[in-house]
């Protein structure tokens, strides 16, 4: 469709229904592995660990039969930021950088250390985007919420509201298309009355004023619909006592193995470089 098109029909993430060993993992296991990749690639100082962790999403993608090119597309939006950061690296020098200069144009030079930093940063970003993209393409909305509940279930025993947190996530997912739909309907209603958004208005106040016909009704409608949903949930005895779960997402033996492996990976990612450093 041309004209005013909105993301009403877009689903969150890019979950693709499929049956693979990765899809079959329990959601909490998937979260653990997501952490097992994210933590080392974001905070490990060892290039080897970062690169090894960055390979993991690719291994999982092959196992999950998700096309890597499909995942890389999610990486495109962050490219400008990486380019910007890389530019800063090149223009500003590290204090006391004694590594060999690889290339120099006038006063601007690229040292080996700078080059490594740029590459590492790109690898870290790519790995994170790949891991998140993979997670959303193998985990449906329901599991994304349930996994949080499972992950926090040990804390639930001491009163942590794991189920409420999971439900909040599930409802937030539900509301994205709802709010988008309301937004679309209001934009169309105002456009039919000749509203012209974002053109011809100068200055922040006038600009904000132009959006008033959108913000007020969309907010009101979103709140009304949230209230309706809250009523419906309450009418169905939400919060009336200890709850059970319809879907069993606790996992099987494979999950137990995979979870231990994930935790082992995180531990190893930090312990191994330290060990190697102390030996050498």
């Amino acid at each position: 469709m041309k004209g005013l098109e909105f993301w009403k029909n877009v689903s969150i993430g890019r979950y693709v229904e499929s049956d693979s060993p990765v899809h079959r993992l329990a959601p909490a296991t998937k979260y653990l592995w997501l952490l097992a990749i994210m933590i080392p690639v974001s905070s490990s100082r060892s290039a080897v660990v970062v690169c090894a962790s960055a390979l993991l999403p690719l291994v999982f993608a092959v196992l999950a039969r998700v096309r890597i090119r499909f995942l890389l597309r999610g990486f495109l939006p962050v490219l400008p930021f990486i380019a910007l950061a890389a530019t800063f690296q090149v223009f500003l020098s590290w204090p006391g950088d004694a590594s060999p200069v690889l290339a120099a144009v006038g006063p601007v030079s690229l040292s080996l250390r700078e080059a490594v930093a740029v590459v590492m940063m790109a690898v870290r970003f790519a790995a994170m985007m790949l891991a998140i993209g993979l997670f959303t393409s193998v985990t449906n909305e329901g599991d994304t919420a349930r996994g949080v509940e499972d992950l926090f279930s040990p804390l639930a025993r001491i009163g942590f509201p794991a189920r409420s947190l999971a439900l909040t996530i599930a409802v937030a997912f539900r509301f994205i298309p709802i709010v988008a739909g309301e937004f679309e309907s209001v934009v169309k209603a105002q456009a039919a009355r000749g509203a012209d958004f974002g053109t011809g208005s100068r200055g922040p106040i006038r600009k904000a004023k132009a959006y008033l016909p959108l913000i007020v009704p969309v907010t009101v409608r979103a709140l009304e619909r949230a209230e309706s949903l809250a009523e419906a949930m309450e009418a169905r005895c939400y919060g009336s006592g200890p709850a059970t779960r319809y879907v069993d997402s606790g996992g099987v033996a494979t999950d137990a193995v995979a979870r231990i492996a994930a935790i082992a990976w995180i531990v190893a990612a930090f312990v191994a470089p330290a060990l190697i450093a102390s030996v050498s």
């Binding site: 041309k2 298309p177 000749g194 419906a232």
Partner: protein, 559 residues
């Protein structure tokens, strides 16, 4: 045995000076079937919310299956005994998978998993959604979503199910299914409370309770209610077959359908009635006559579509064709009713006509302007034939009614005296007299008036045509009549109206009817053609009552 006991109940919303309900006393028996009727704002929904503790009545008491819903302990018991089905289908779905949504209430009650599974499947089977159990609810039709809500209610094994205007936002076929489910519940001994505006629906209940301005003004059988001379004073109508029987001059029977009424009329009144109807028919009246409308000259048309197609989410996996190769002309000065099931493409077609959506292929002309043309000024096109989207009142944003109506003409560049004149004319035409309503806060208006304010705010553009998407949906009968009067008044000035509707009785009073199915235009012609010779029952819509009755009368005469 009364399962619900309401004793001198009152309720005042916080911040309001007027009570929403006062002095309501009513008993509902085990297995009863009670309709609660009344105009918008009469307190029907408030009453239902007091029954399960969503609101706490003050003063008065409520007992549901022996429990007091205003007491935190009694509330769970009351909610277990009384399930609610709400008005808006998508707003009561919690989970992202059908069967998980049915299980939501059971999870909250802490039902063990094996039993939960059994009850979920049983409930889904009962509403005929077993095949959809693994699907995402947002891909279900509104009617299916409402059946899903019923499944969630009955999985709780309640003793009462209350439907709060649960049929007002779904198409006729979906509505029929939900009404059949109510009968099914009653047959299995579960009490049903049905809050509705529709007298045909109320007539199905065993008892009717009428609320007016927060007071219970009538409780009795439907027959007693419809025979009552207080009906007009309460701004309530009669069921269609009941009113038709009165017009025919025979004894009305509550719950009779058009076919039964027709057959009975022929028995009672003899062949004379059949002759009269047949004559009307051969003179080009109902039941026969009329021809489909062929494509004519685009020149005299207000709107003109040629092989217009339009899809949502182009290129994505969930791409769908909303409008599929539609060609039609709407001559200036005609009223066209668009009918078809939910999701058949009515809203999308209206957006094509308005220029809010542009065709992917084919062409759409609005008053001679090709909306996809490079030179088309879409803003002018839209303001010449503006669209009122579904529930247009949700787009109201100005605190004061007069300002809201002035938004459009201001965008056209009007100001001063001319602006005031436009706003005055539009508000007067919409039945909201300018002098009285200009400074009324828009949010305090009743539902029906809010809807009319929204229509006034496009009338003030002084358009050559109106495009209305379900302008009468979810309005009570009196507000619906006001709205139809507004539309007729506008059209009587020789201007064009294209409106979608789920009421075939409304469609029958249009000049032309366009039937949509799966994005295609299935039929386009005068009502006599579409609902007469051209009728196809596979369209998934109903026929207007008058056509069904005429057909039954003619059939009765032949027998």
């Amino acid at each position: 045995m009364a399962i619900i006991g309401i004793d001198s109940l009152g309720y005042t919303y916080p911040g309001s000076s007027e009570p929403a309900l006062s002095d309501i006393s009513l008993d509902i028996d085990e297995g009863d079937y009670v309709a609660i009727v009344g105009a918008n704002g009469s307190g029907k929904s408030t009453l239902v919310r007091c029954l399960n503790g969503l609101l706490q009545p003050e003063p008065g008491t409520v007992r549901v299956a022996g429990a007091d819903p205003s007491d935190p302990k009694g509330r769970v018991a009351a909610r277990k005994a009384l399930s609610l089905v709400f008005q808006s289908p998508p707003d009561q779905i919690v989970a992202s998978v059908v069967e998980e949504d049915v299980a939501f209430g059971l999870e909250n009650l802490g039902v063990p998993r094996p039993e939960m599974r059994e009850r979920v499947l049983e409930a889904l089977d009962r509403v005929d959604l077993l095949a959809e159990r693994a699907r995402a609810p947002r891909f279900l039709s509104a009617g299916q979503q409402q059946r899903l809500a019923v499944a969630g209610a009955i999985a709780m094994r309640p003793r009462i199910v209350a439907f709060d205007e649960a049929t007002s936002m779904i198409d006729p076929v979906g509505r029929k299914d939900v009404l059949a489910l109510m009968d099914d519940l009653v047959a299995s001994g579960i009490a049903v409370i049905h809050v509705t505006h529709d007298m045909d629906e109320a007539a199905r209940a065993r008892r009717v309770a009428v609320l007016s301005e927060g007071r219970l003004v009538f409780v009795g059988t439907p027959a007693e209610l419809f025979a009552s001379d207080r009906l007009d004073g309460l701004r309530l109508g009669r069921p269609r077959s009941y009113a038709a029987a009165l017009r025919l001059g025979i004894e009305p029977i509550v719950g009779e359908d058009a076919a039964a009424l027709g057959a009975r009329a022929v028995r009672v009144l003899g062949a004379a009635i059949t002759v009269a109807v047949s004559e009307k028919a051969s003179a080009g009246g109902h039941a026969t006559g009329g021809d489909p409308i062929a494509l004519a000259d685009e020149a005299g048309a207000a709107f003109s579509l040629r092989d217009a197609s339009m899809s949502y989410s182009n290129g994505a996996e969930n791409q769908c064709r909303a409008v599929d190769c539609v060609s039609m002309d709407v001559p200036a000065g005609t009223v066209v009713a668009l009918v078809g099931k939910t999701g058949s493409g009515k809203s999308s077609l209206l957006q094509l006509l308005d220029g809010l959506a542009l065709p992917d292929s084919g062409s759409a002309l609005s008053f001679g302007v090709d909306t996809a043309g490079r030179k088309a000024d879409l803003r002018t096109v839209r303001m010449r034939a503006p669209l009122a989207v579904q529930r247009p009142e949700s787009a109201i944003f100005e605190p004061y009614s007069g300002d809201e109506v002035a938004f459009g003409p201001r965008n056209q560049g009007l100001s001063g005296e001319r602006l005031v004149e436009r706003v005055r004319a539009a508000m007067d035409a919409a039945g909201l007299p300018f002098d009285e309503y200009r400074d009324k806060p828009s949010r305090t208006l009743s539902g029906g008036r809010k809807r009319r304010l929204a229509i006034a705010s496009i009338l003030s553009l002084d358009p050559d045509a109106l495009l209305l998407d379900e302008p009468t949906s979810a309005l009570d009968p009196a507000s619906r009549d006001d709205m139809l009067r507004l539309i007729r008044g506008y059209a009587s000035g020789g201007r064009t109206v294209v409106m979608s509707t789920h009421s075939m009785d409304e469609a029958a009073s249009a000049d032309r009817v366009a039937v949509m199915r799966d994005g295609r235009l299935e039929a386009y012609g005068p009502p006599d053609f579409v609902f007469g010779t051209g009728w196809d029952s596979s369209w998934g819509i109903e026929r207007p009552f008058a056509f069904e009755l005429d057909e039954a009368l003619i059939a009765g005469g032949r027998a």
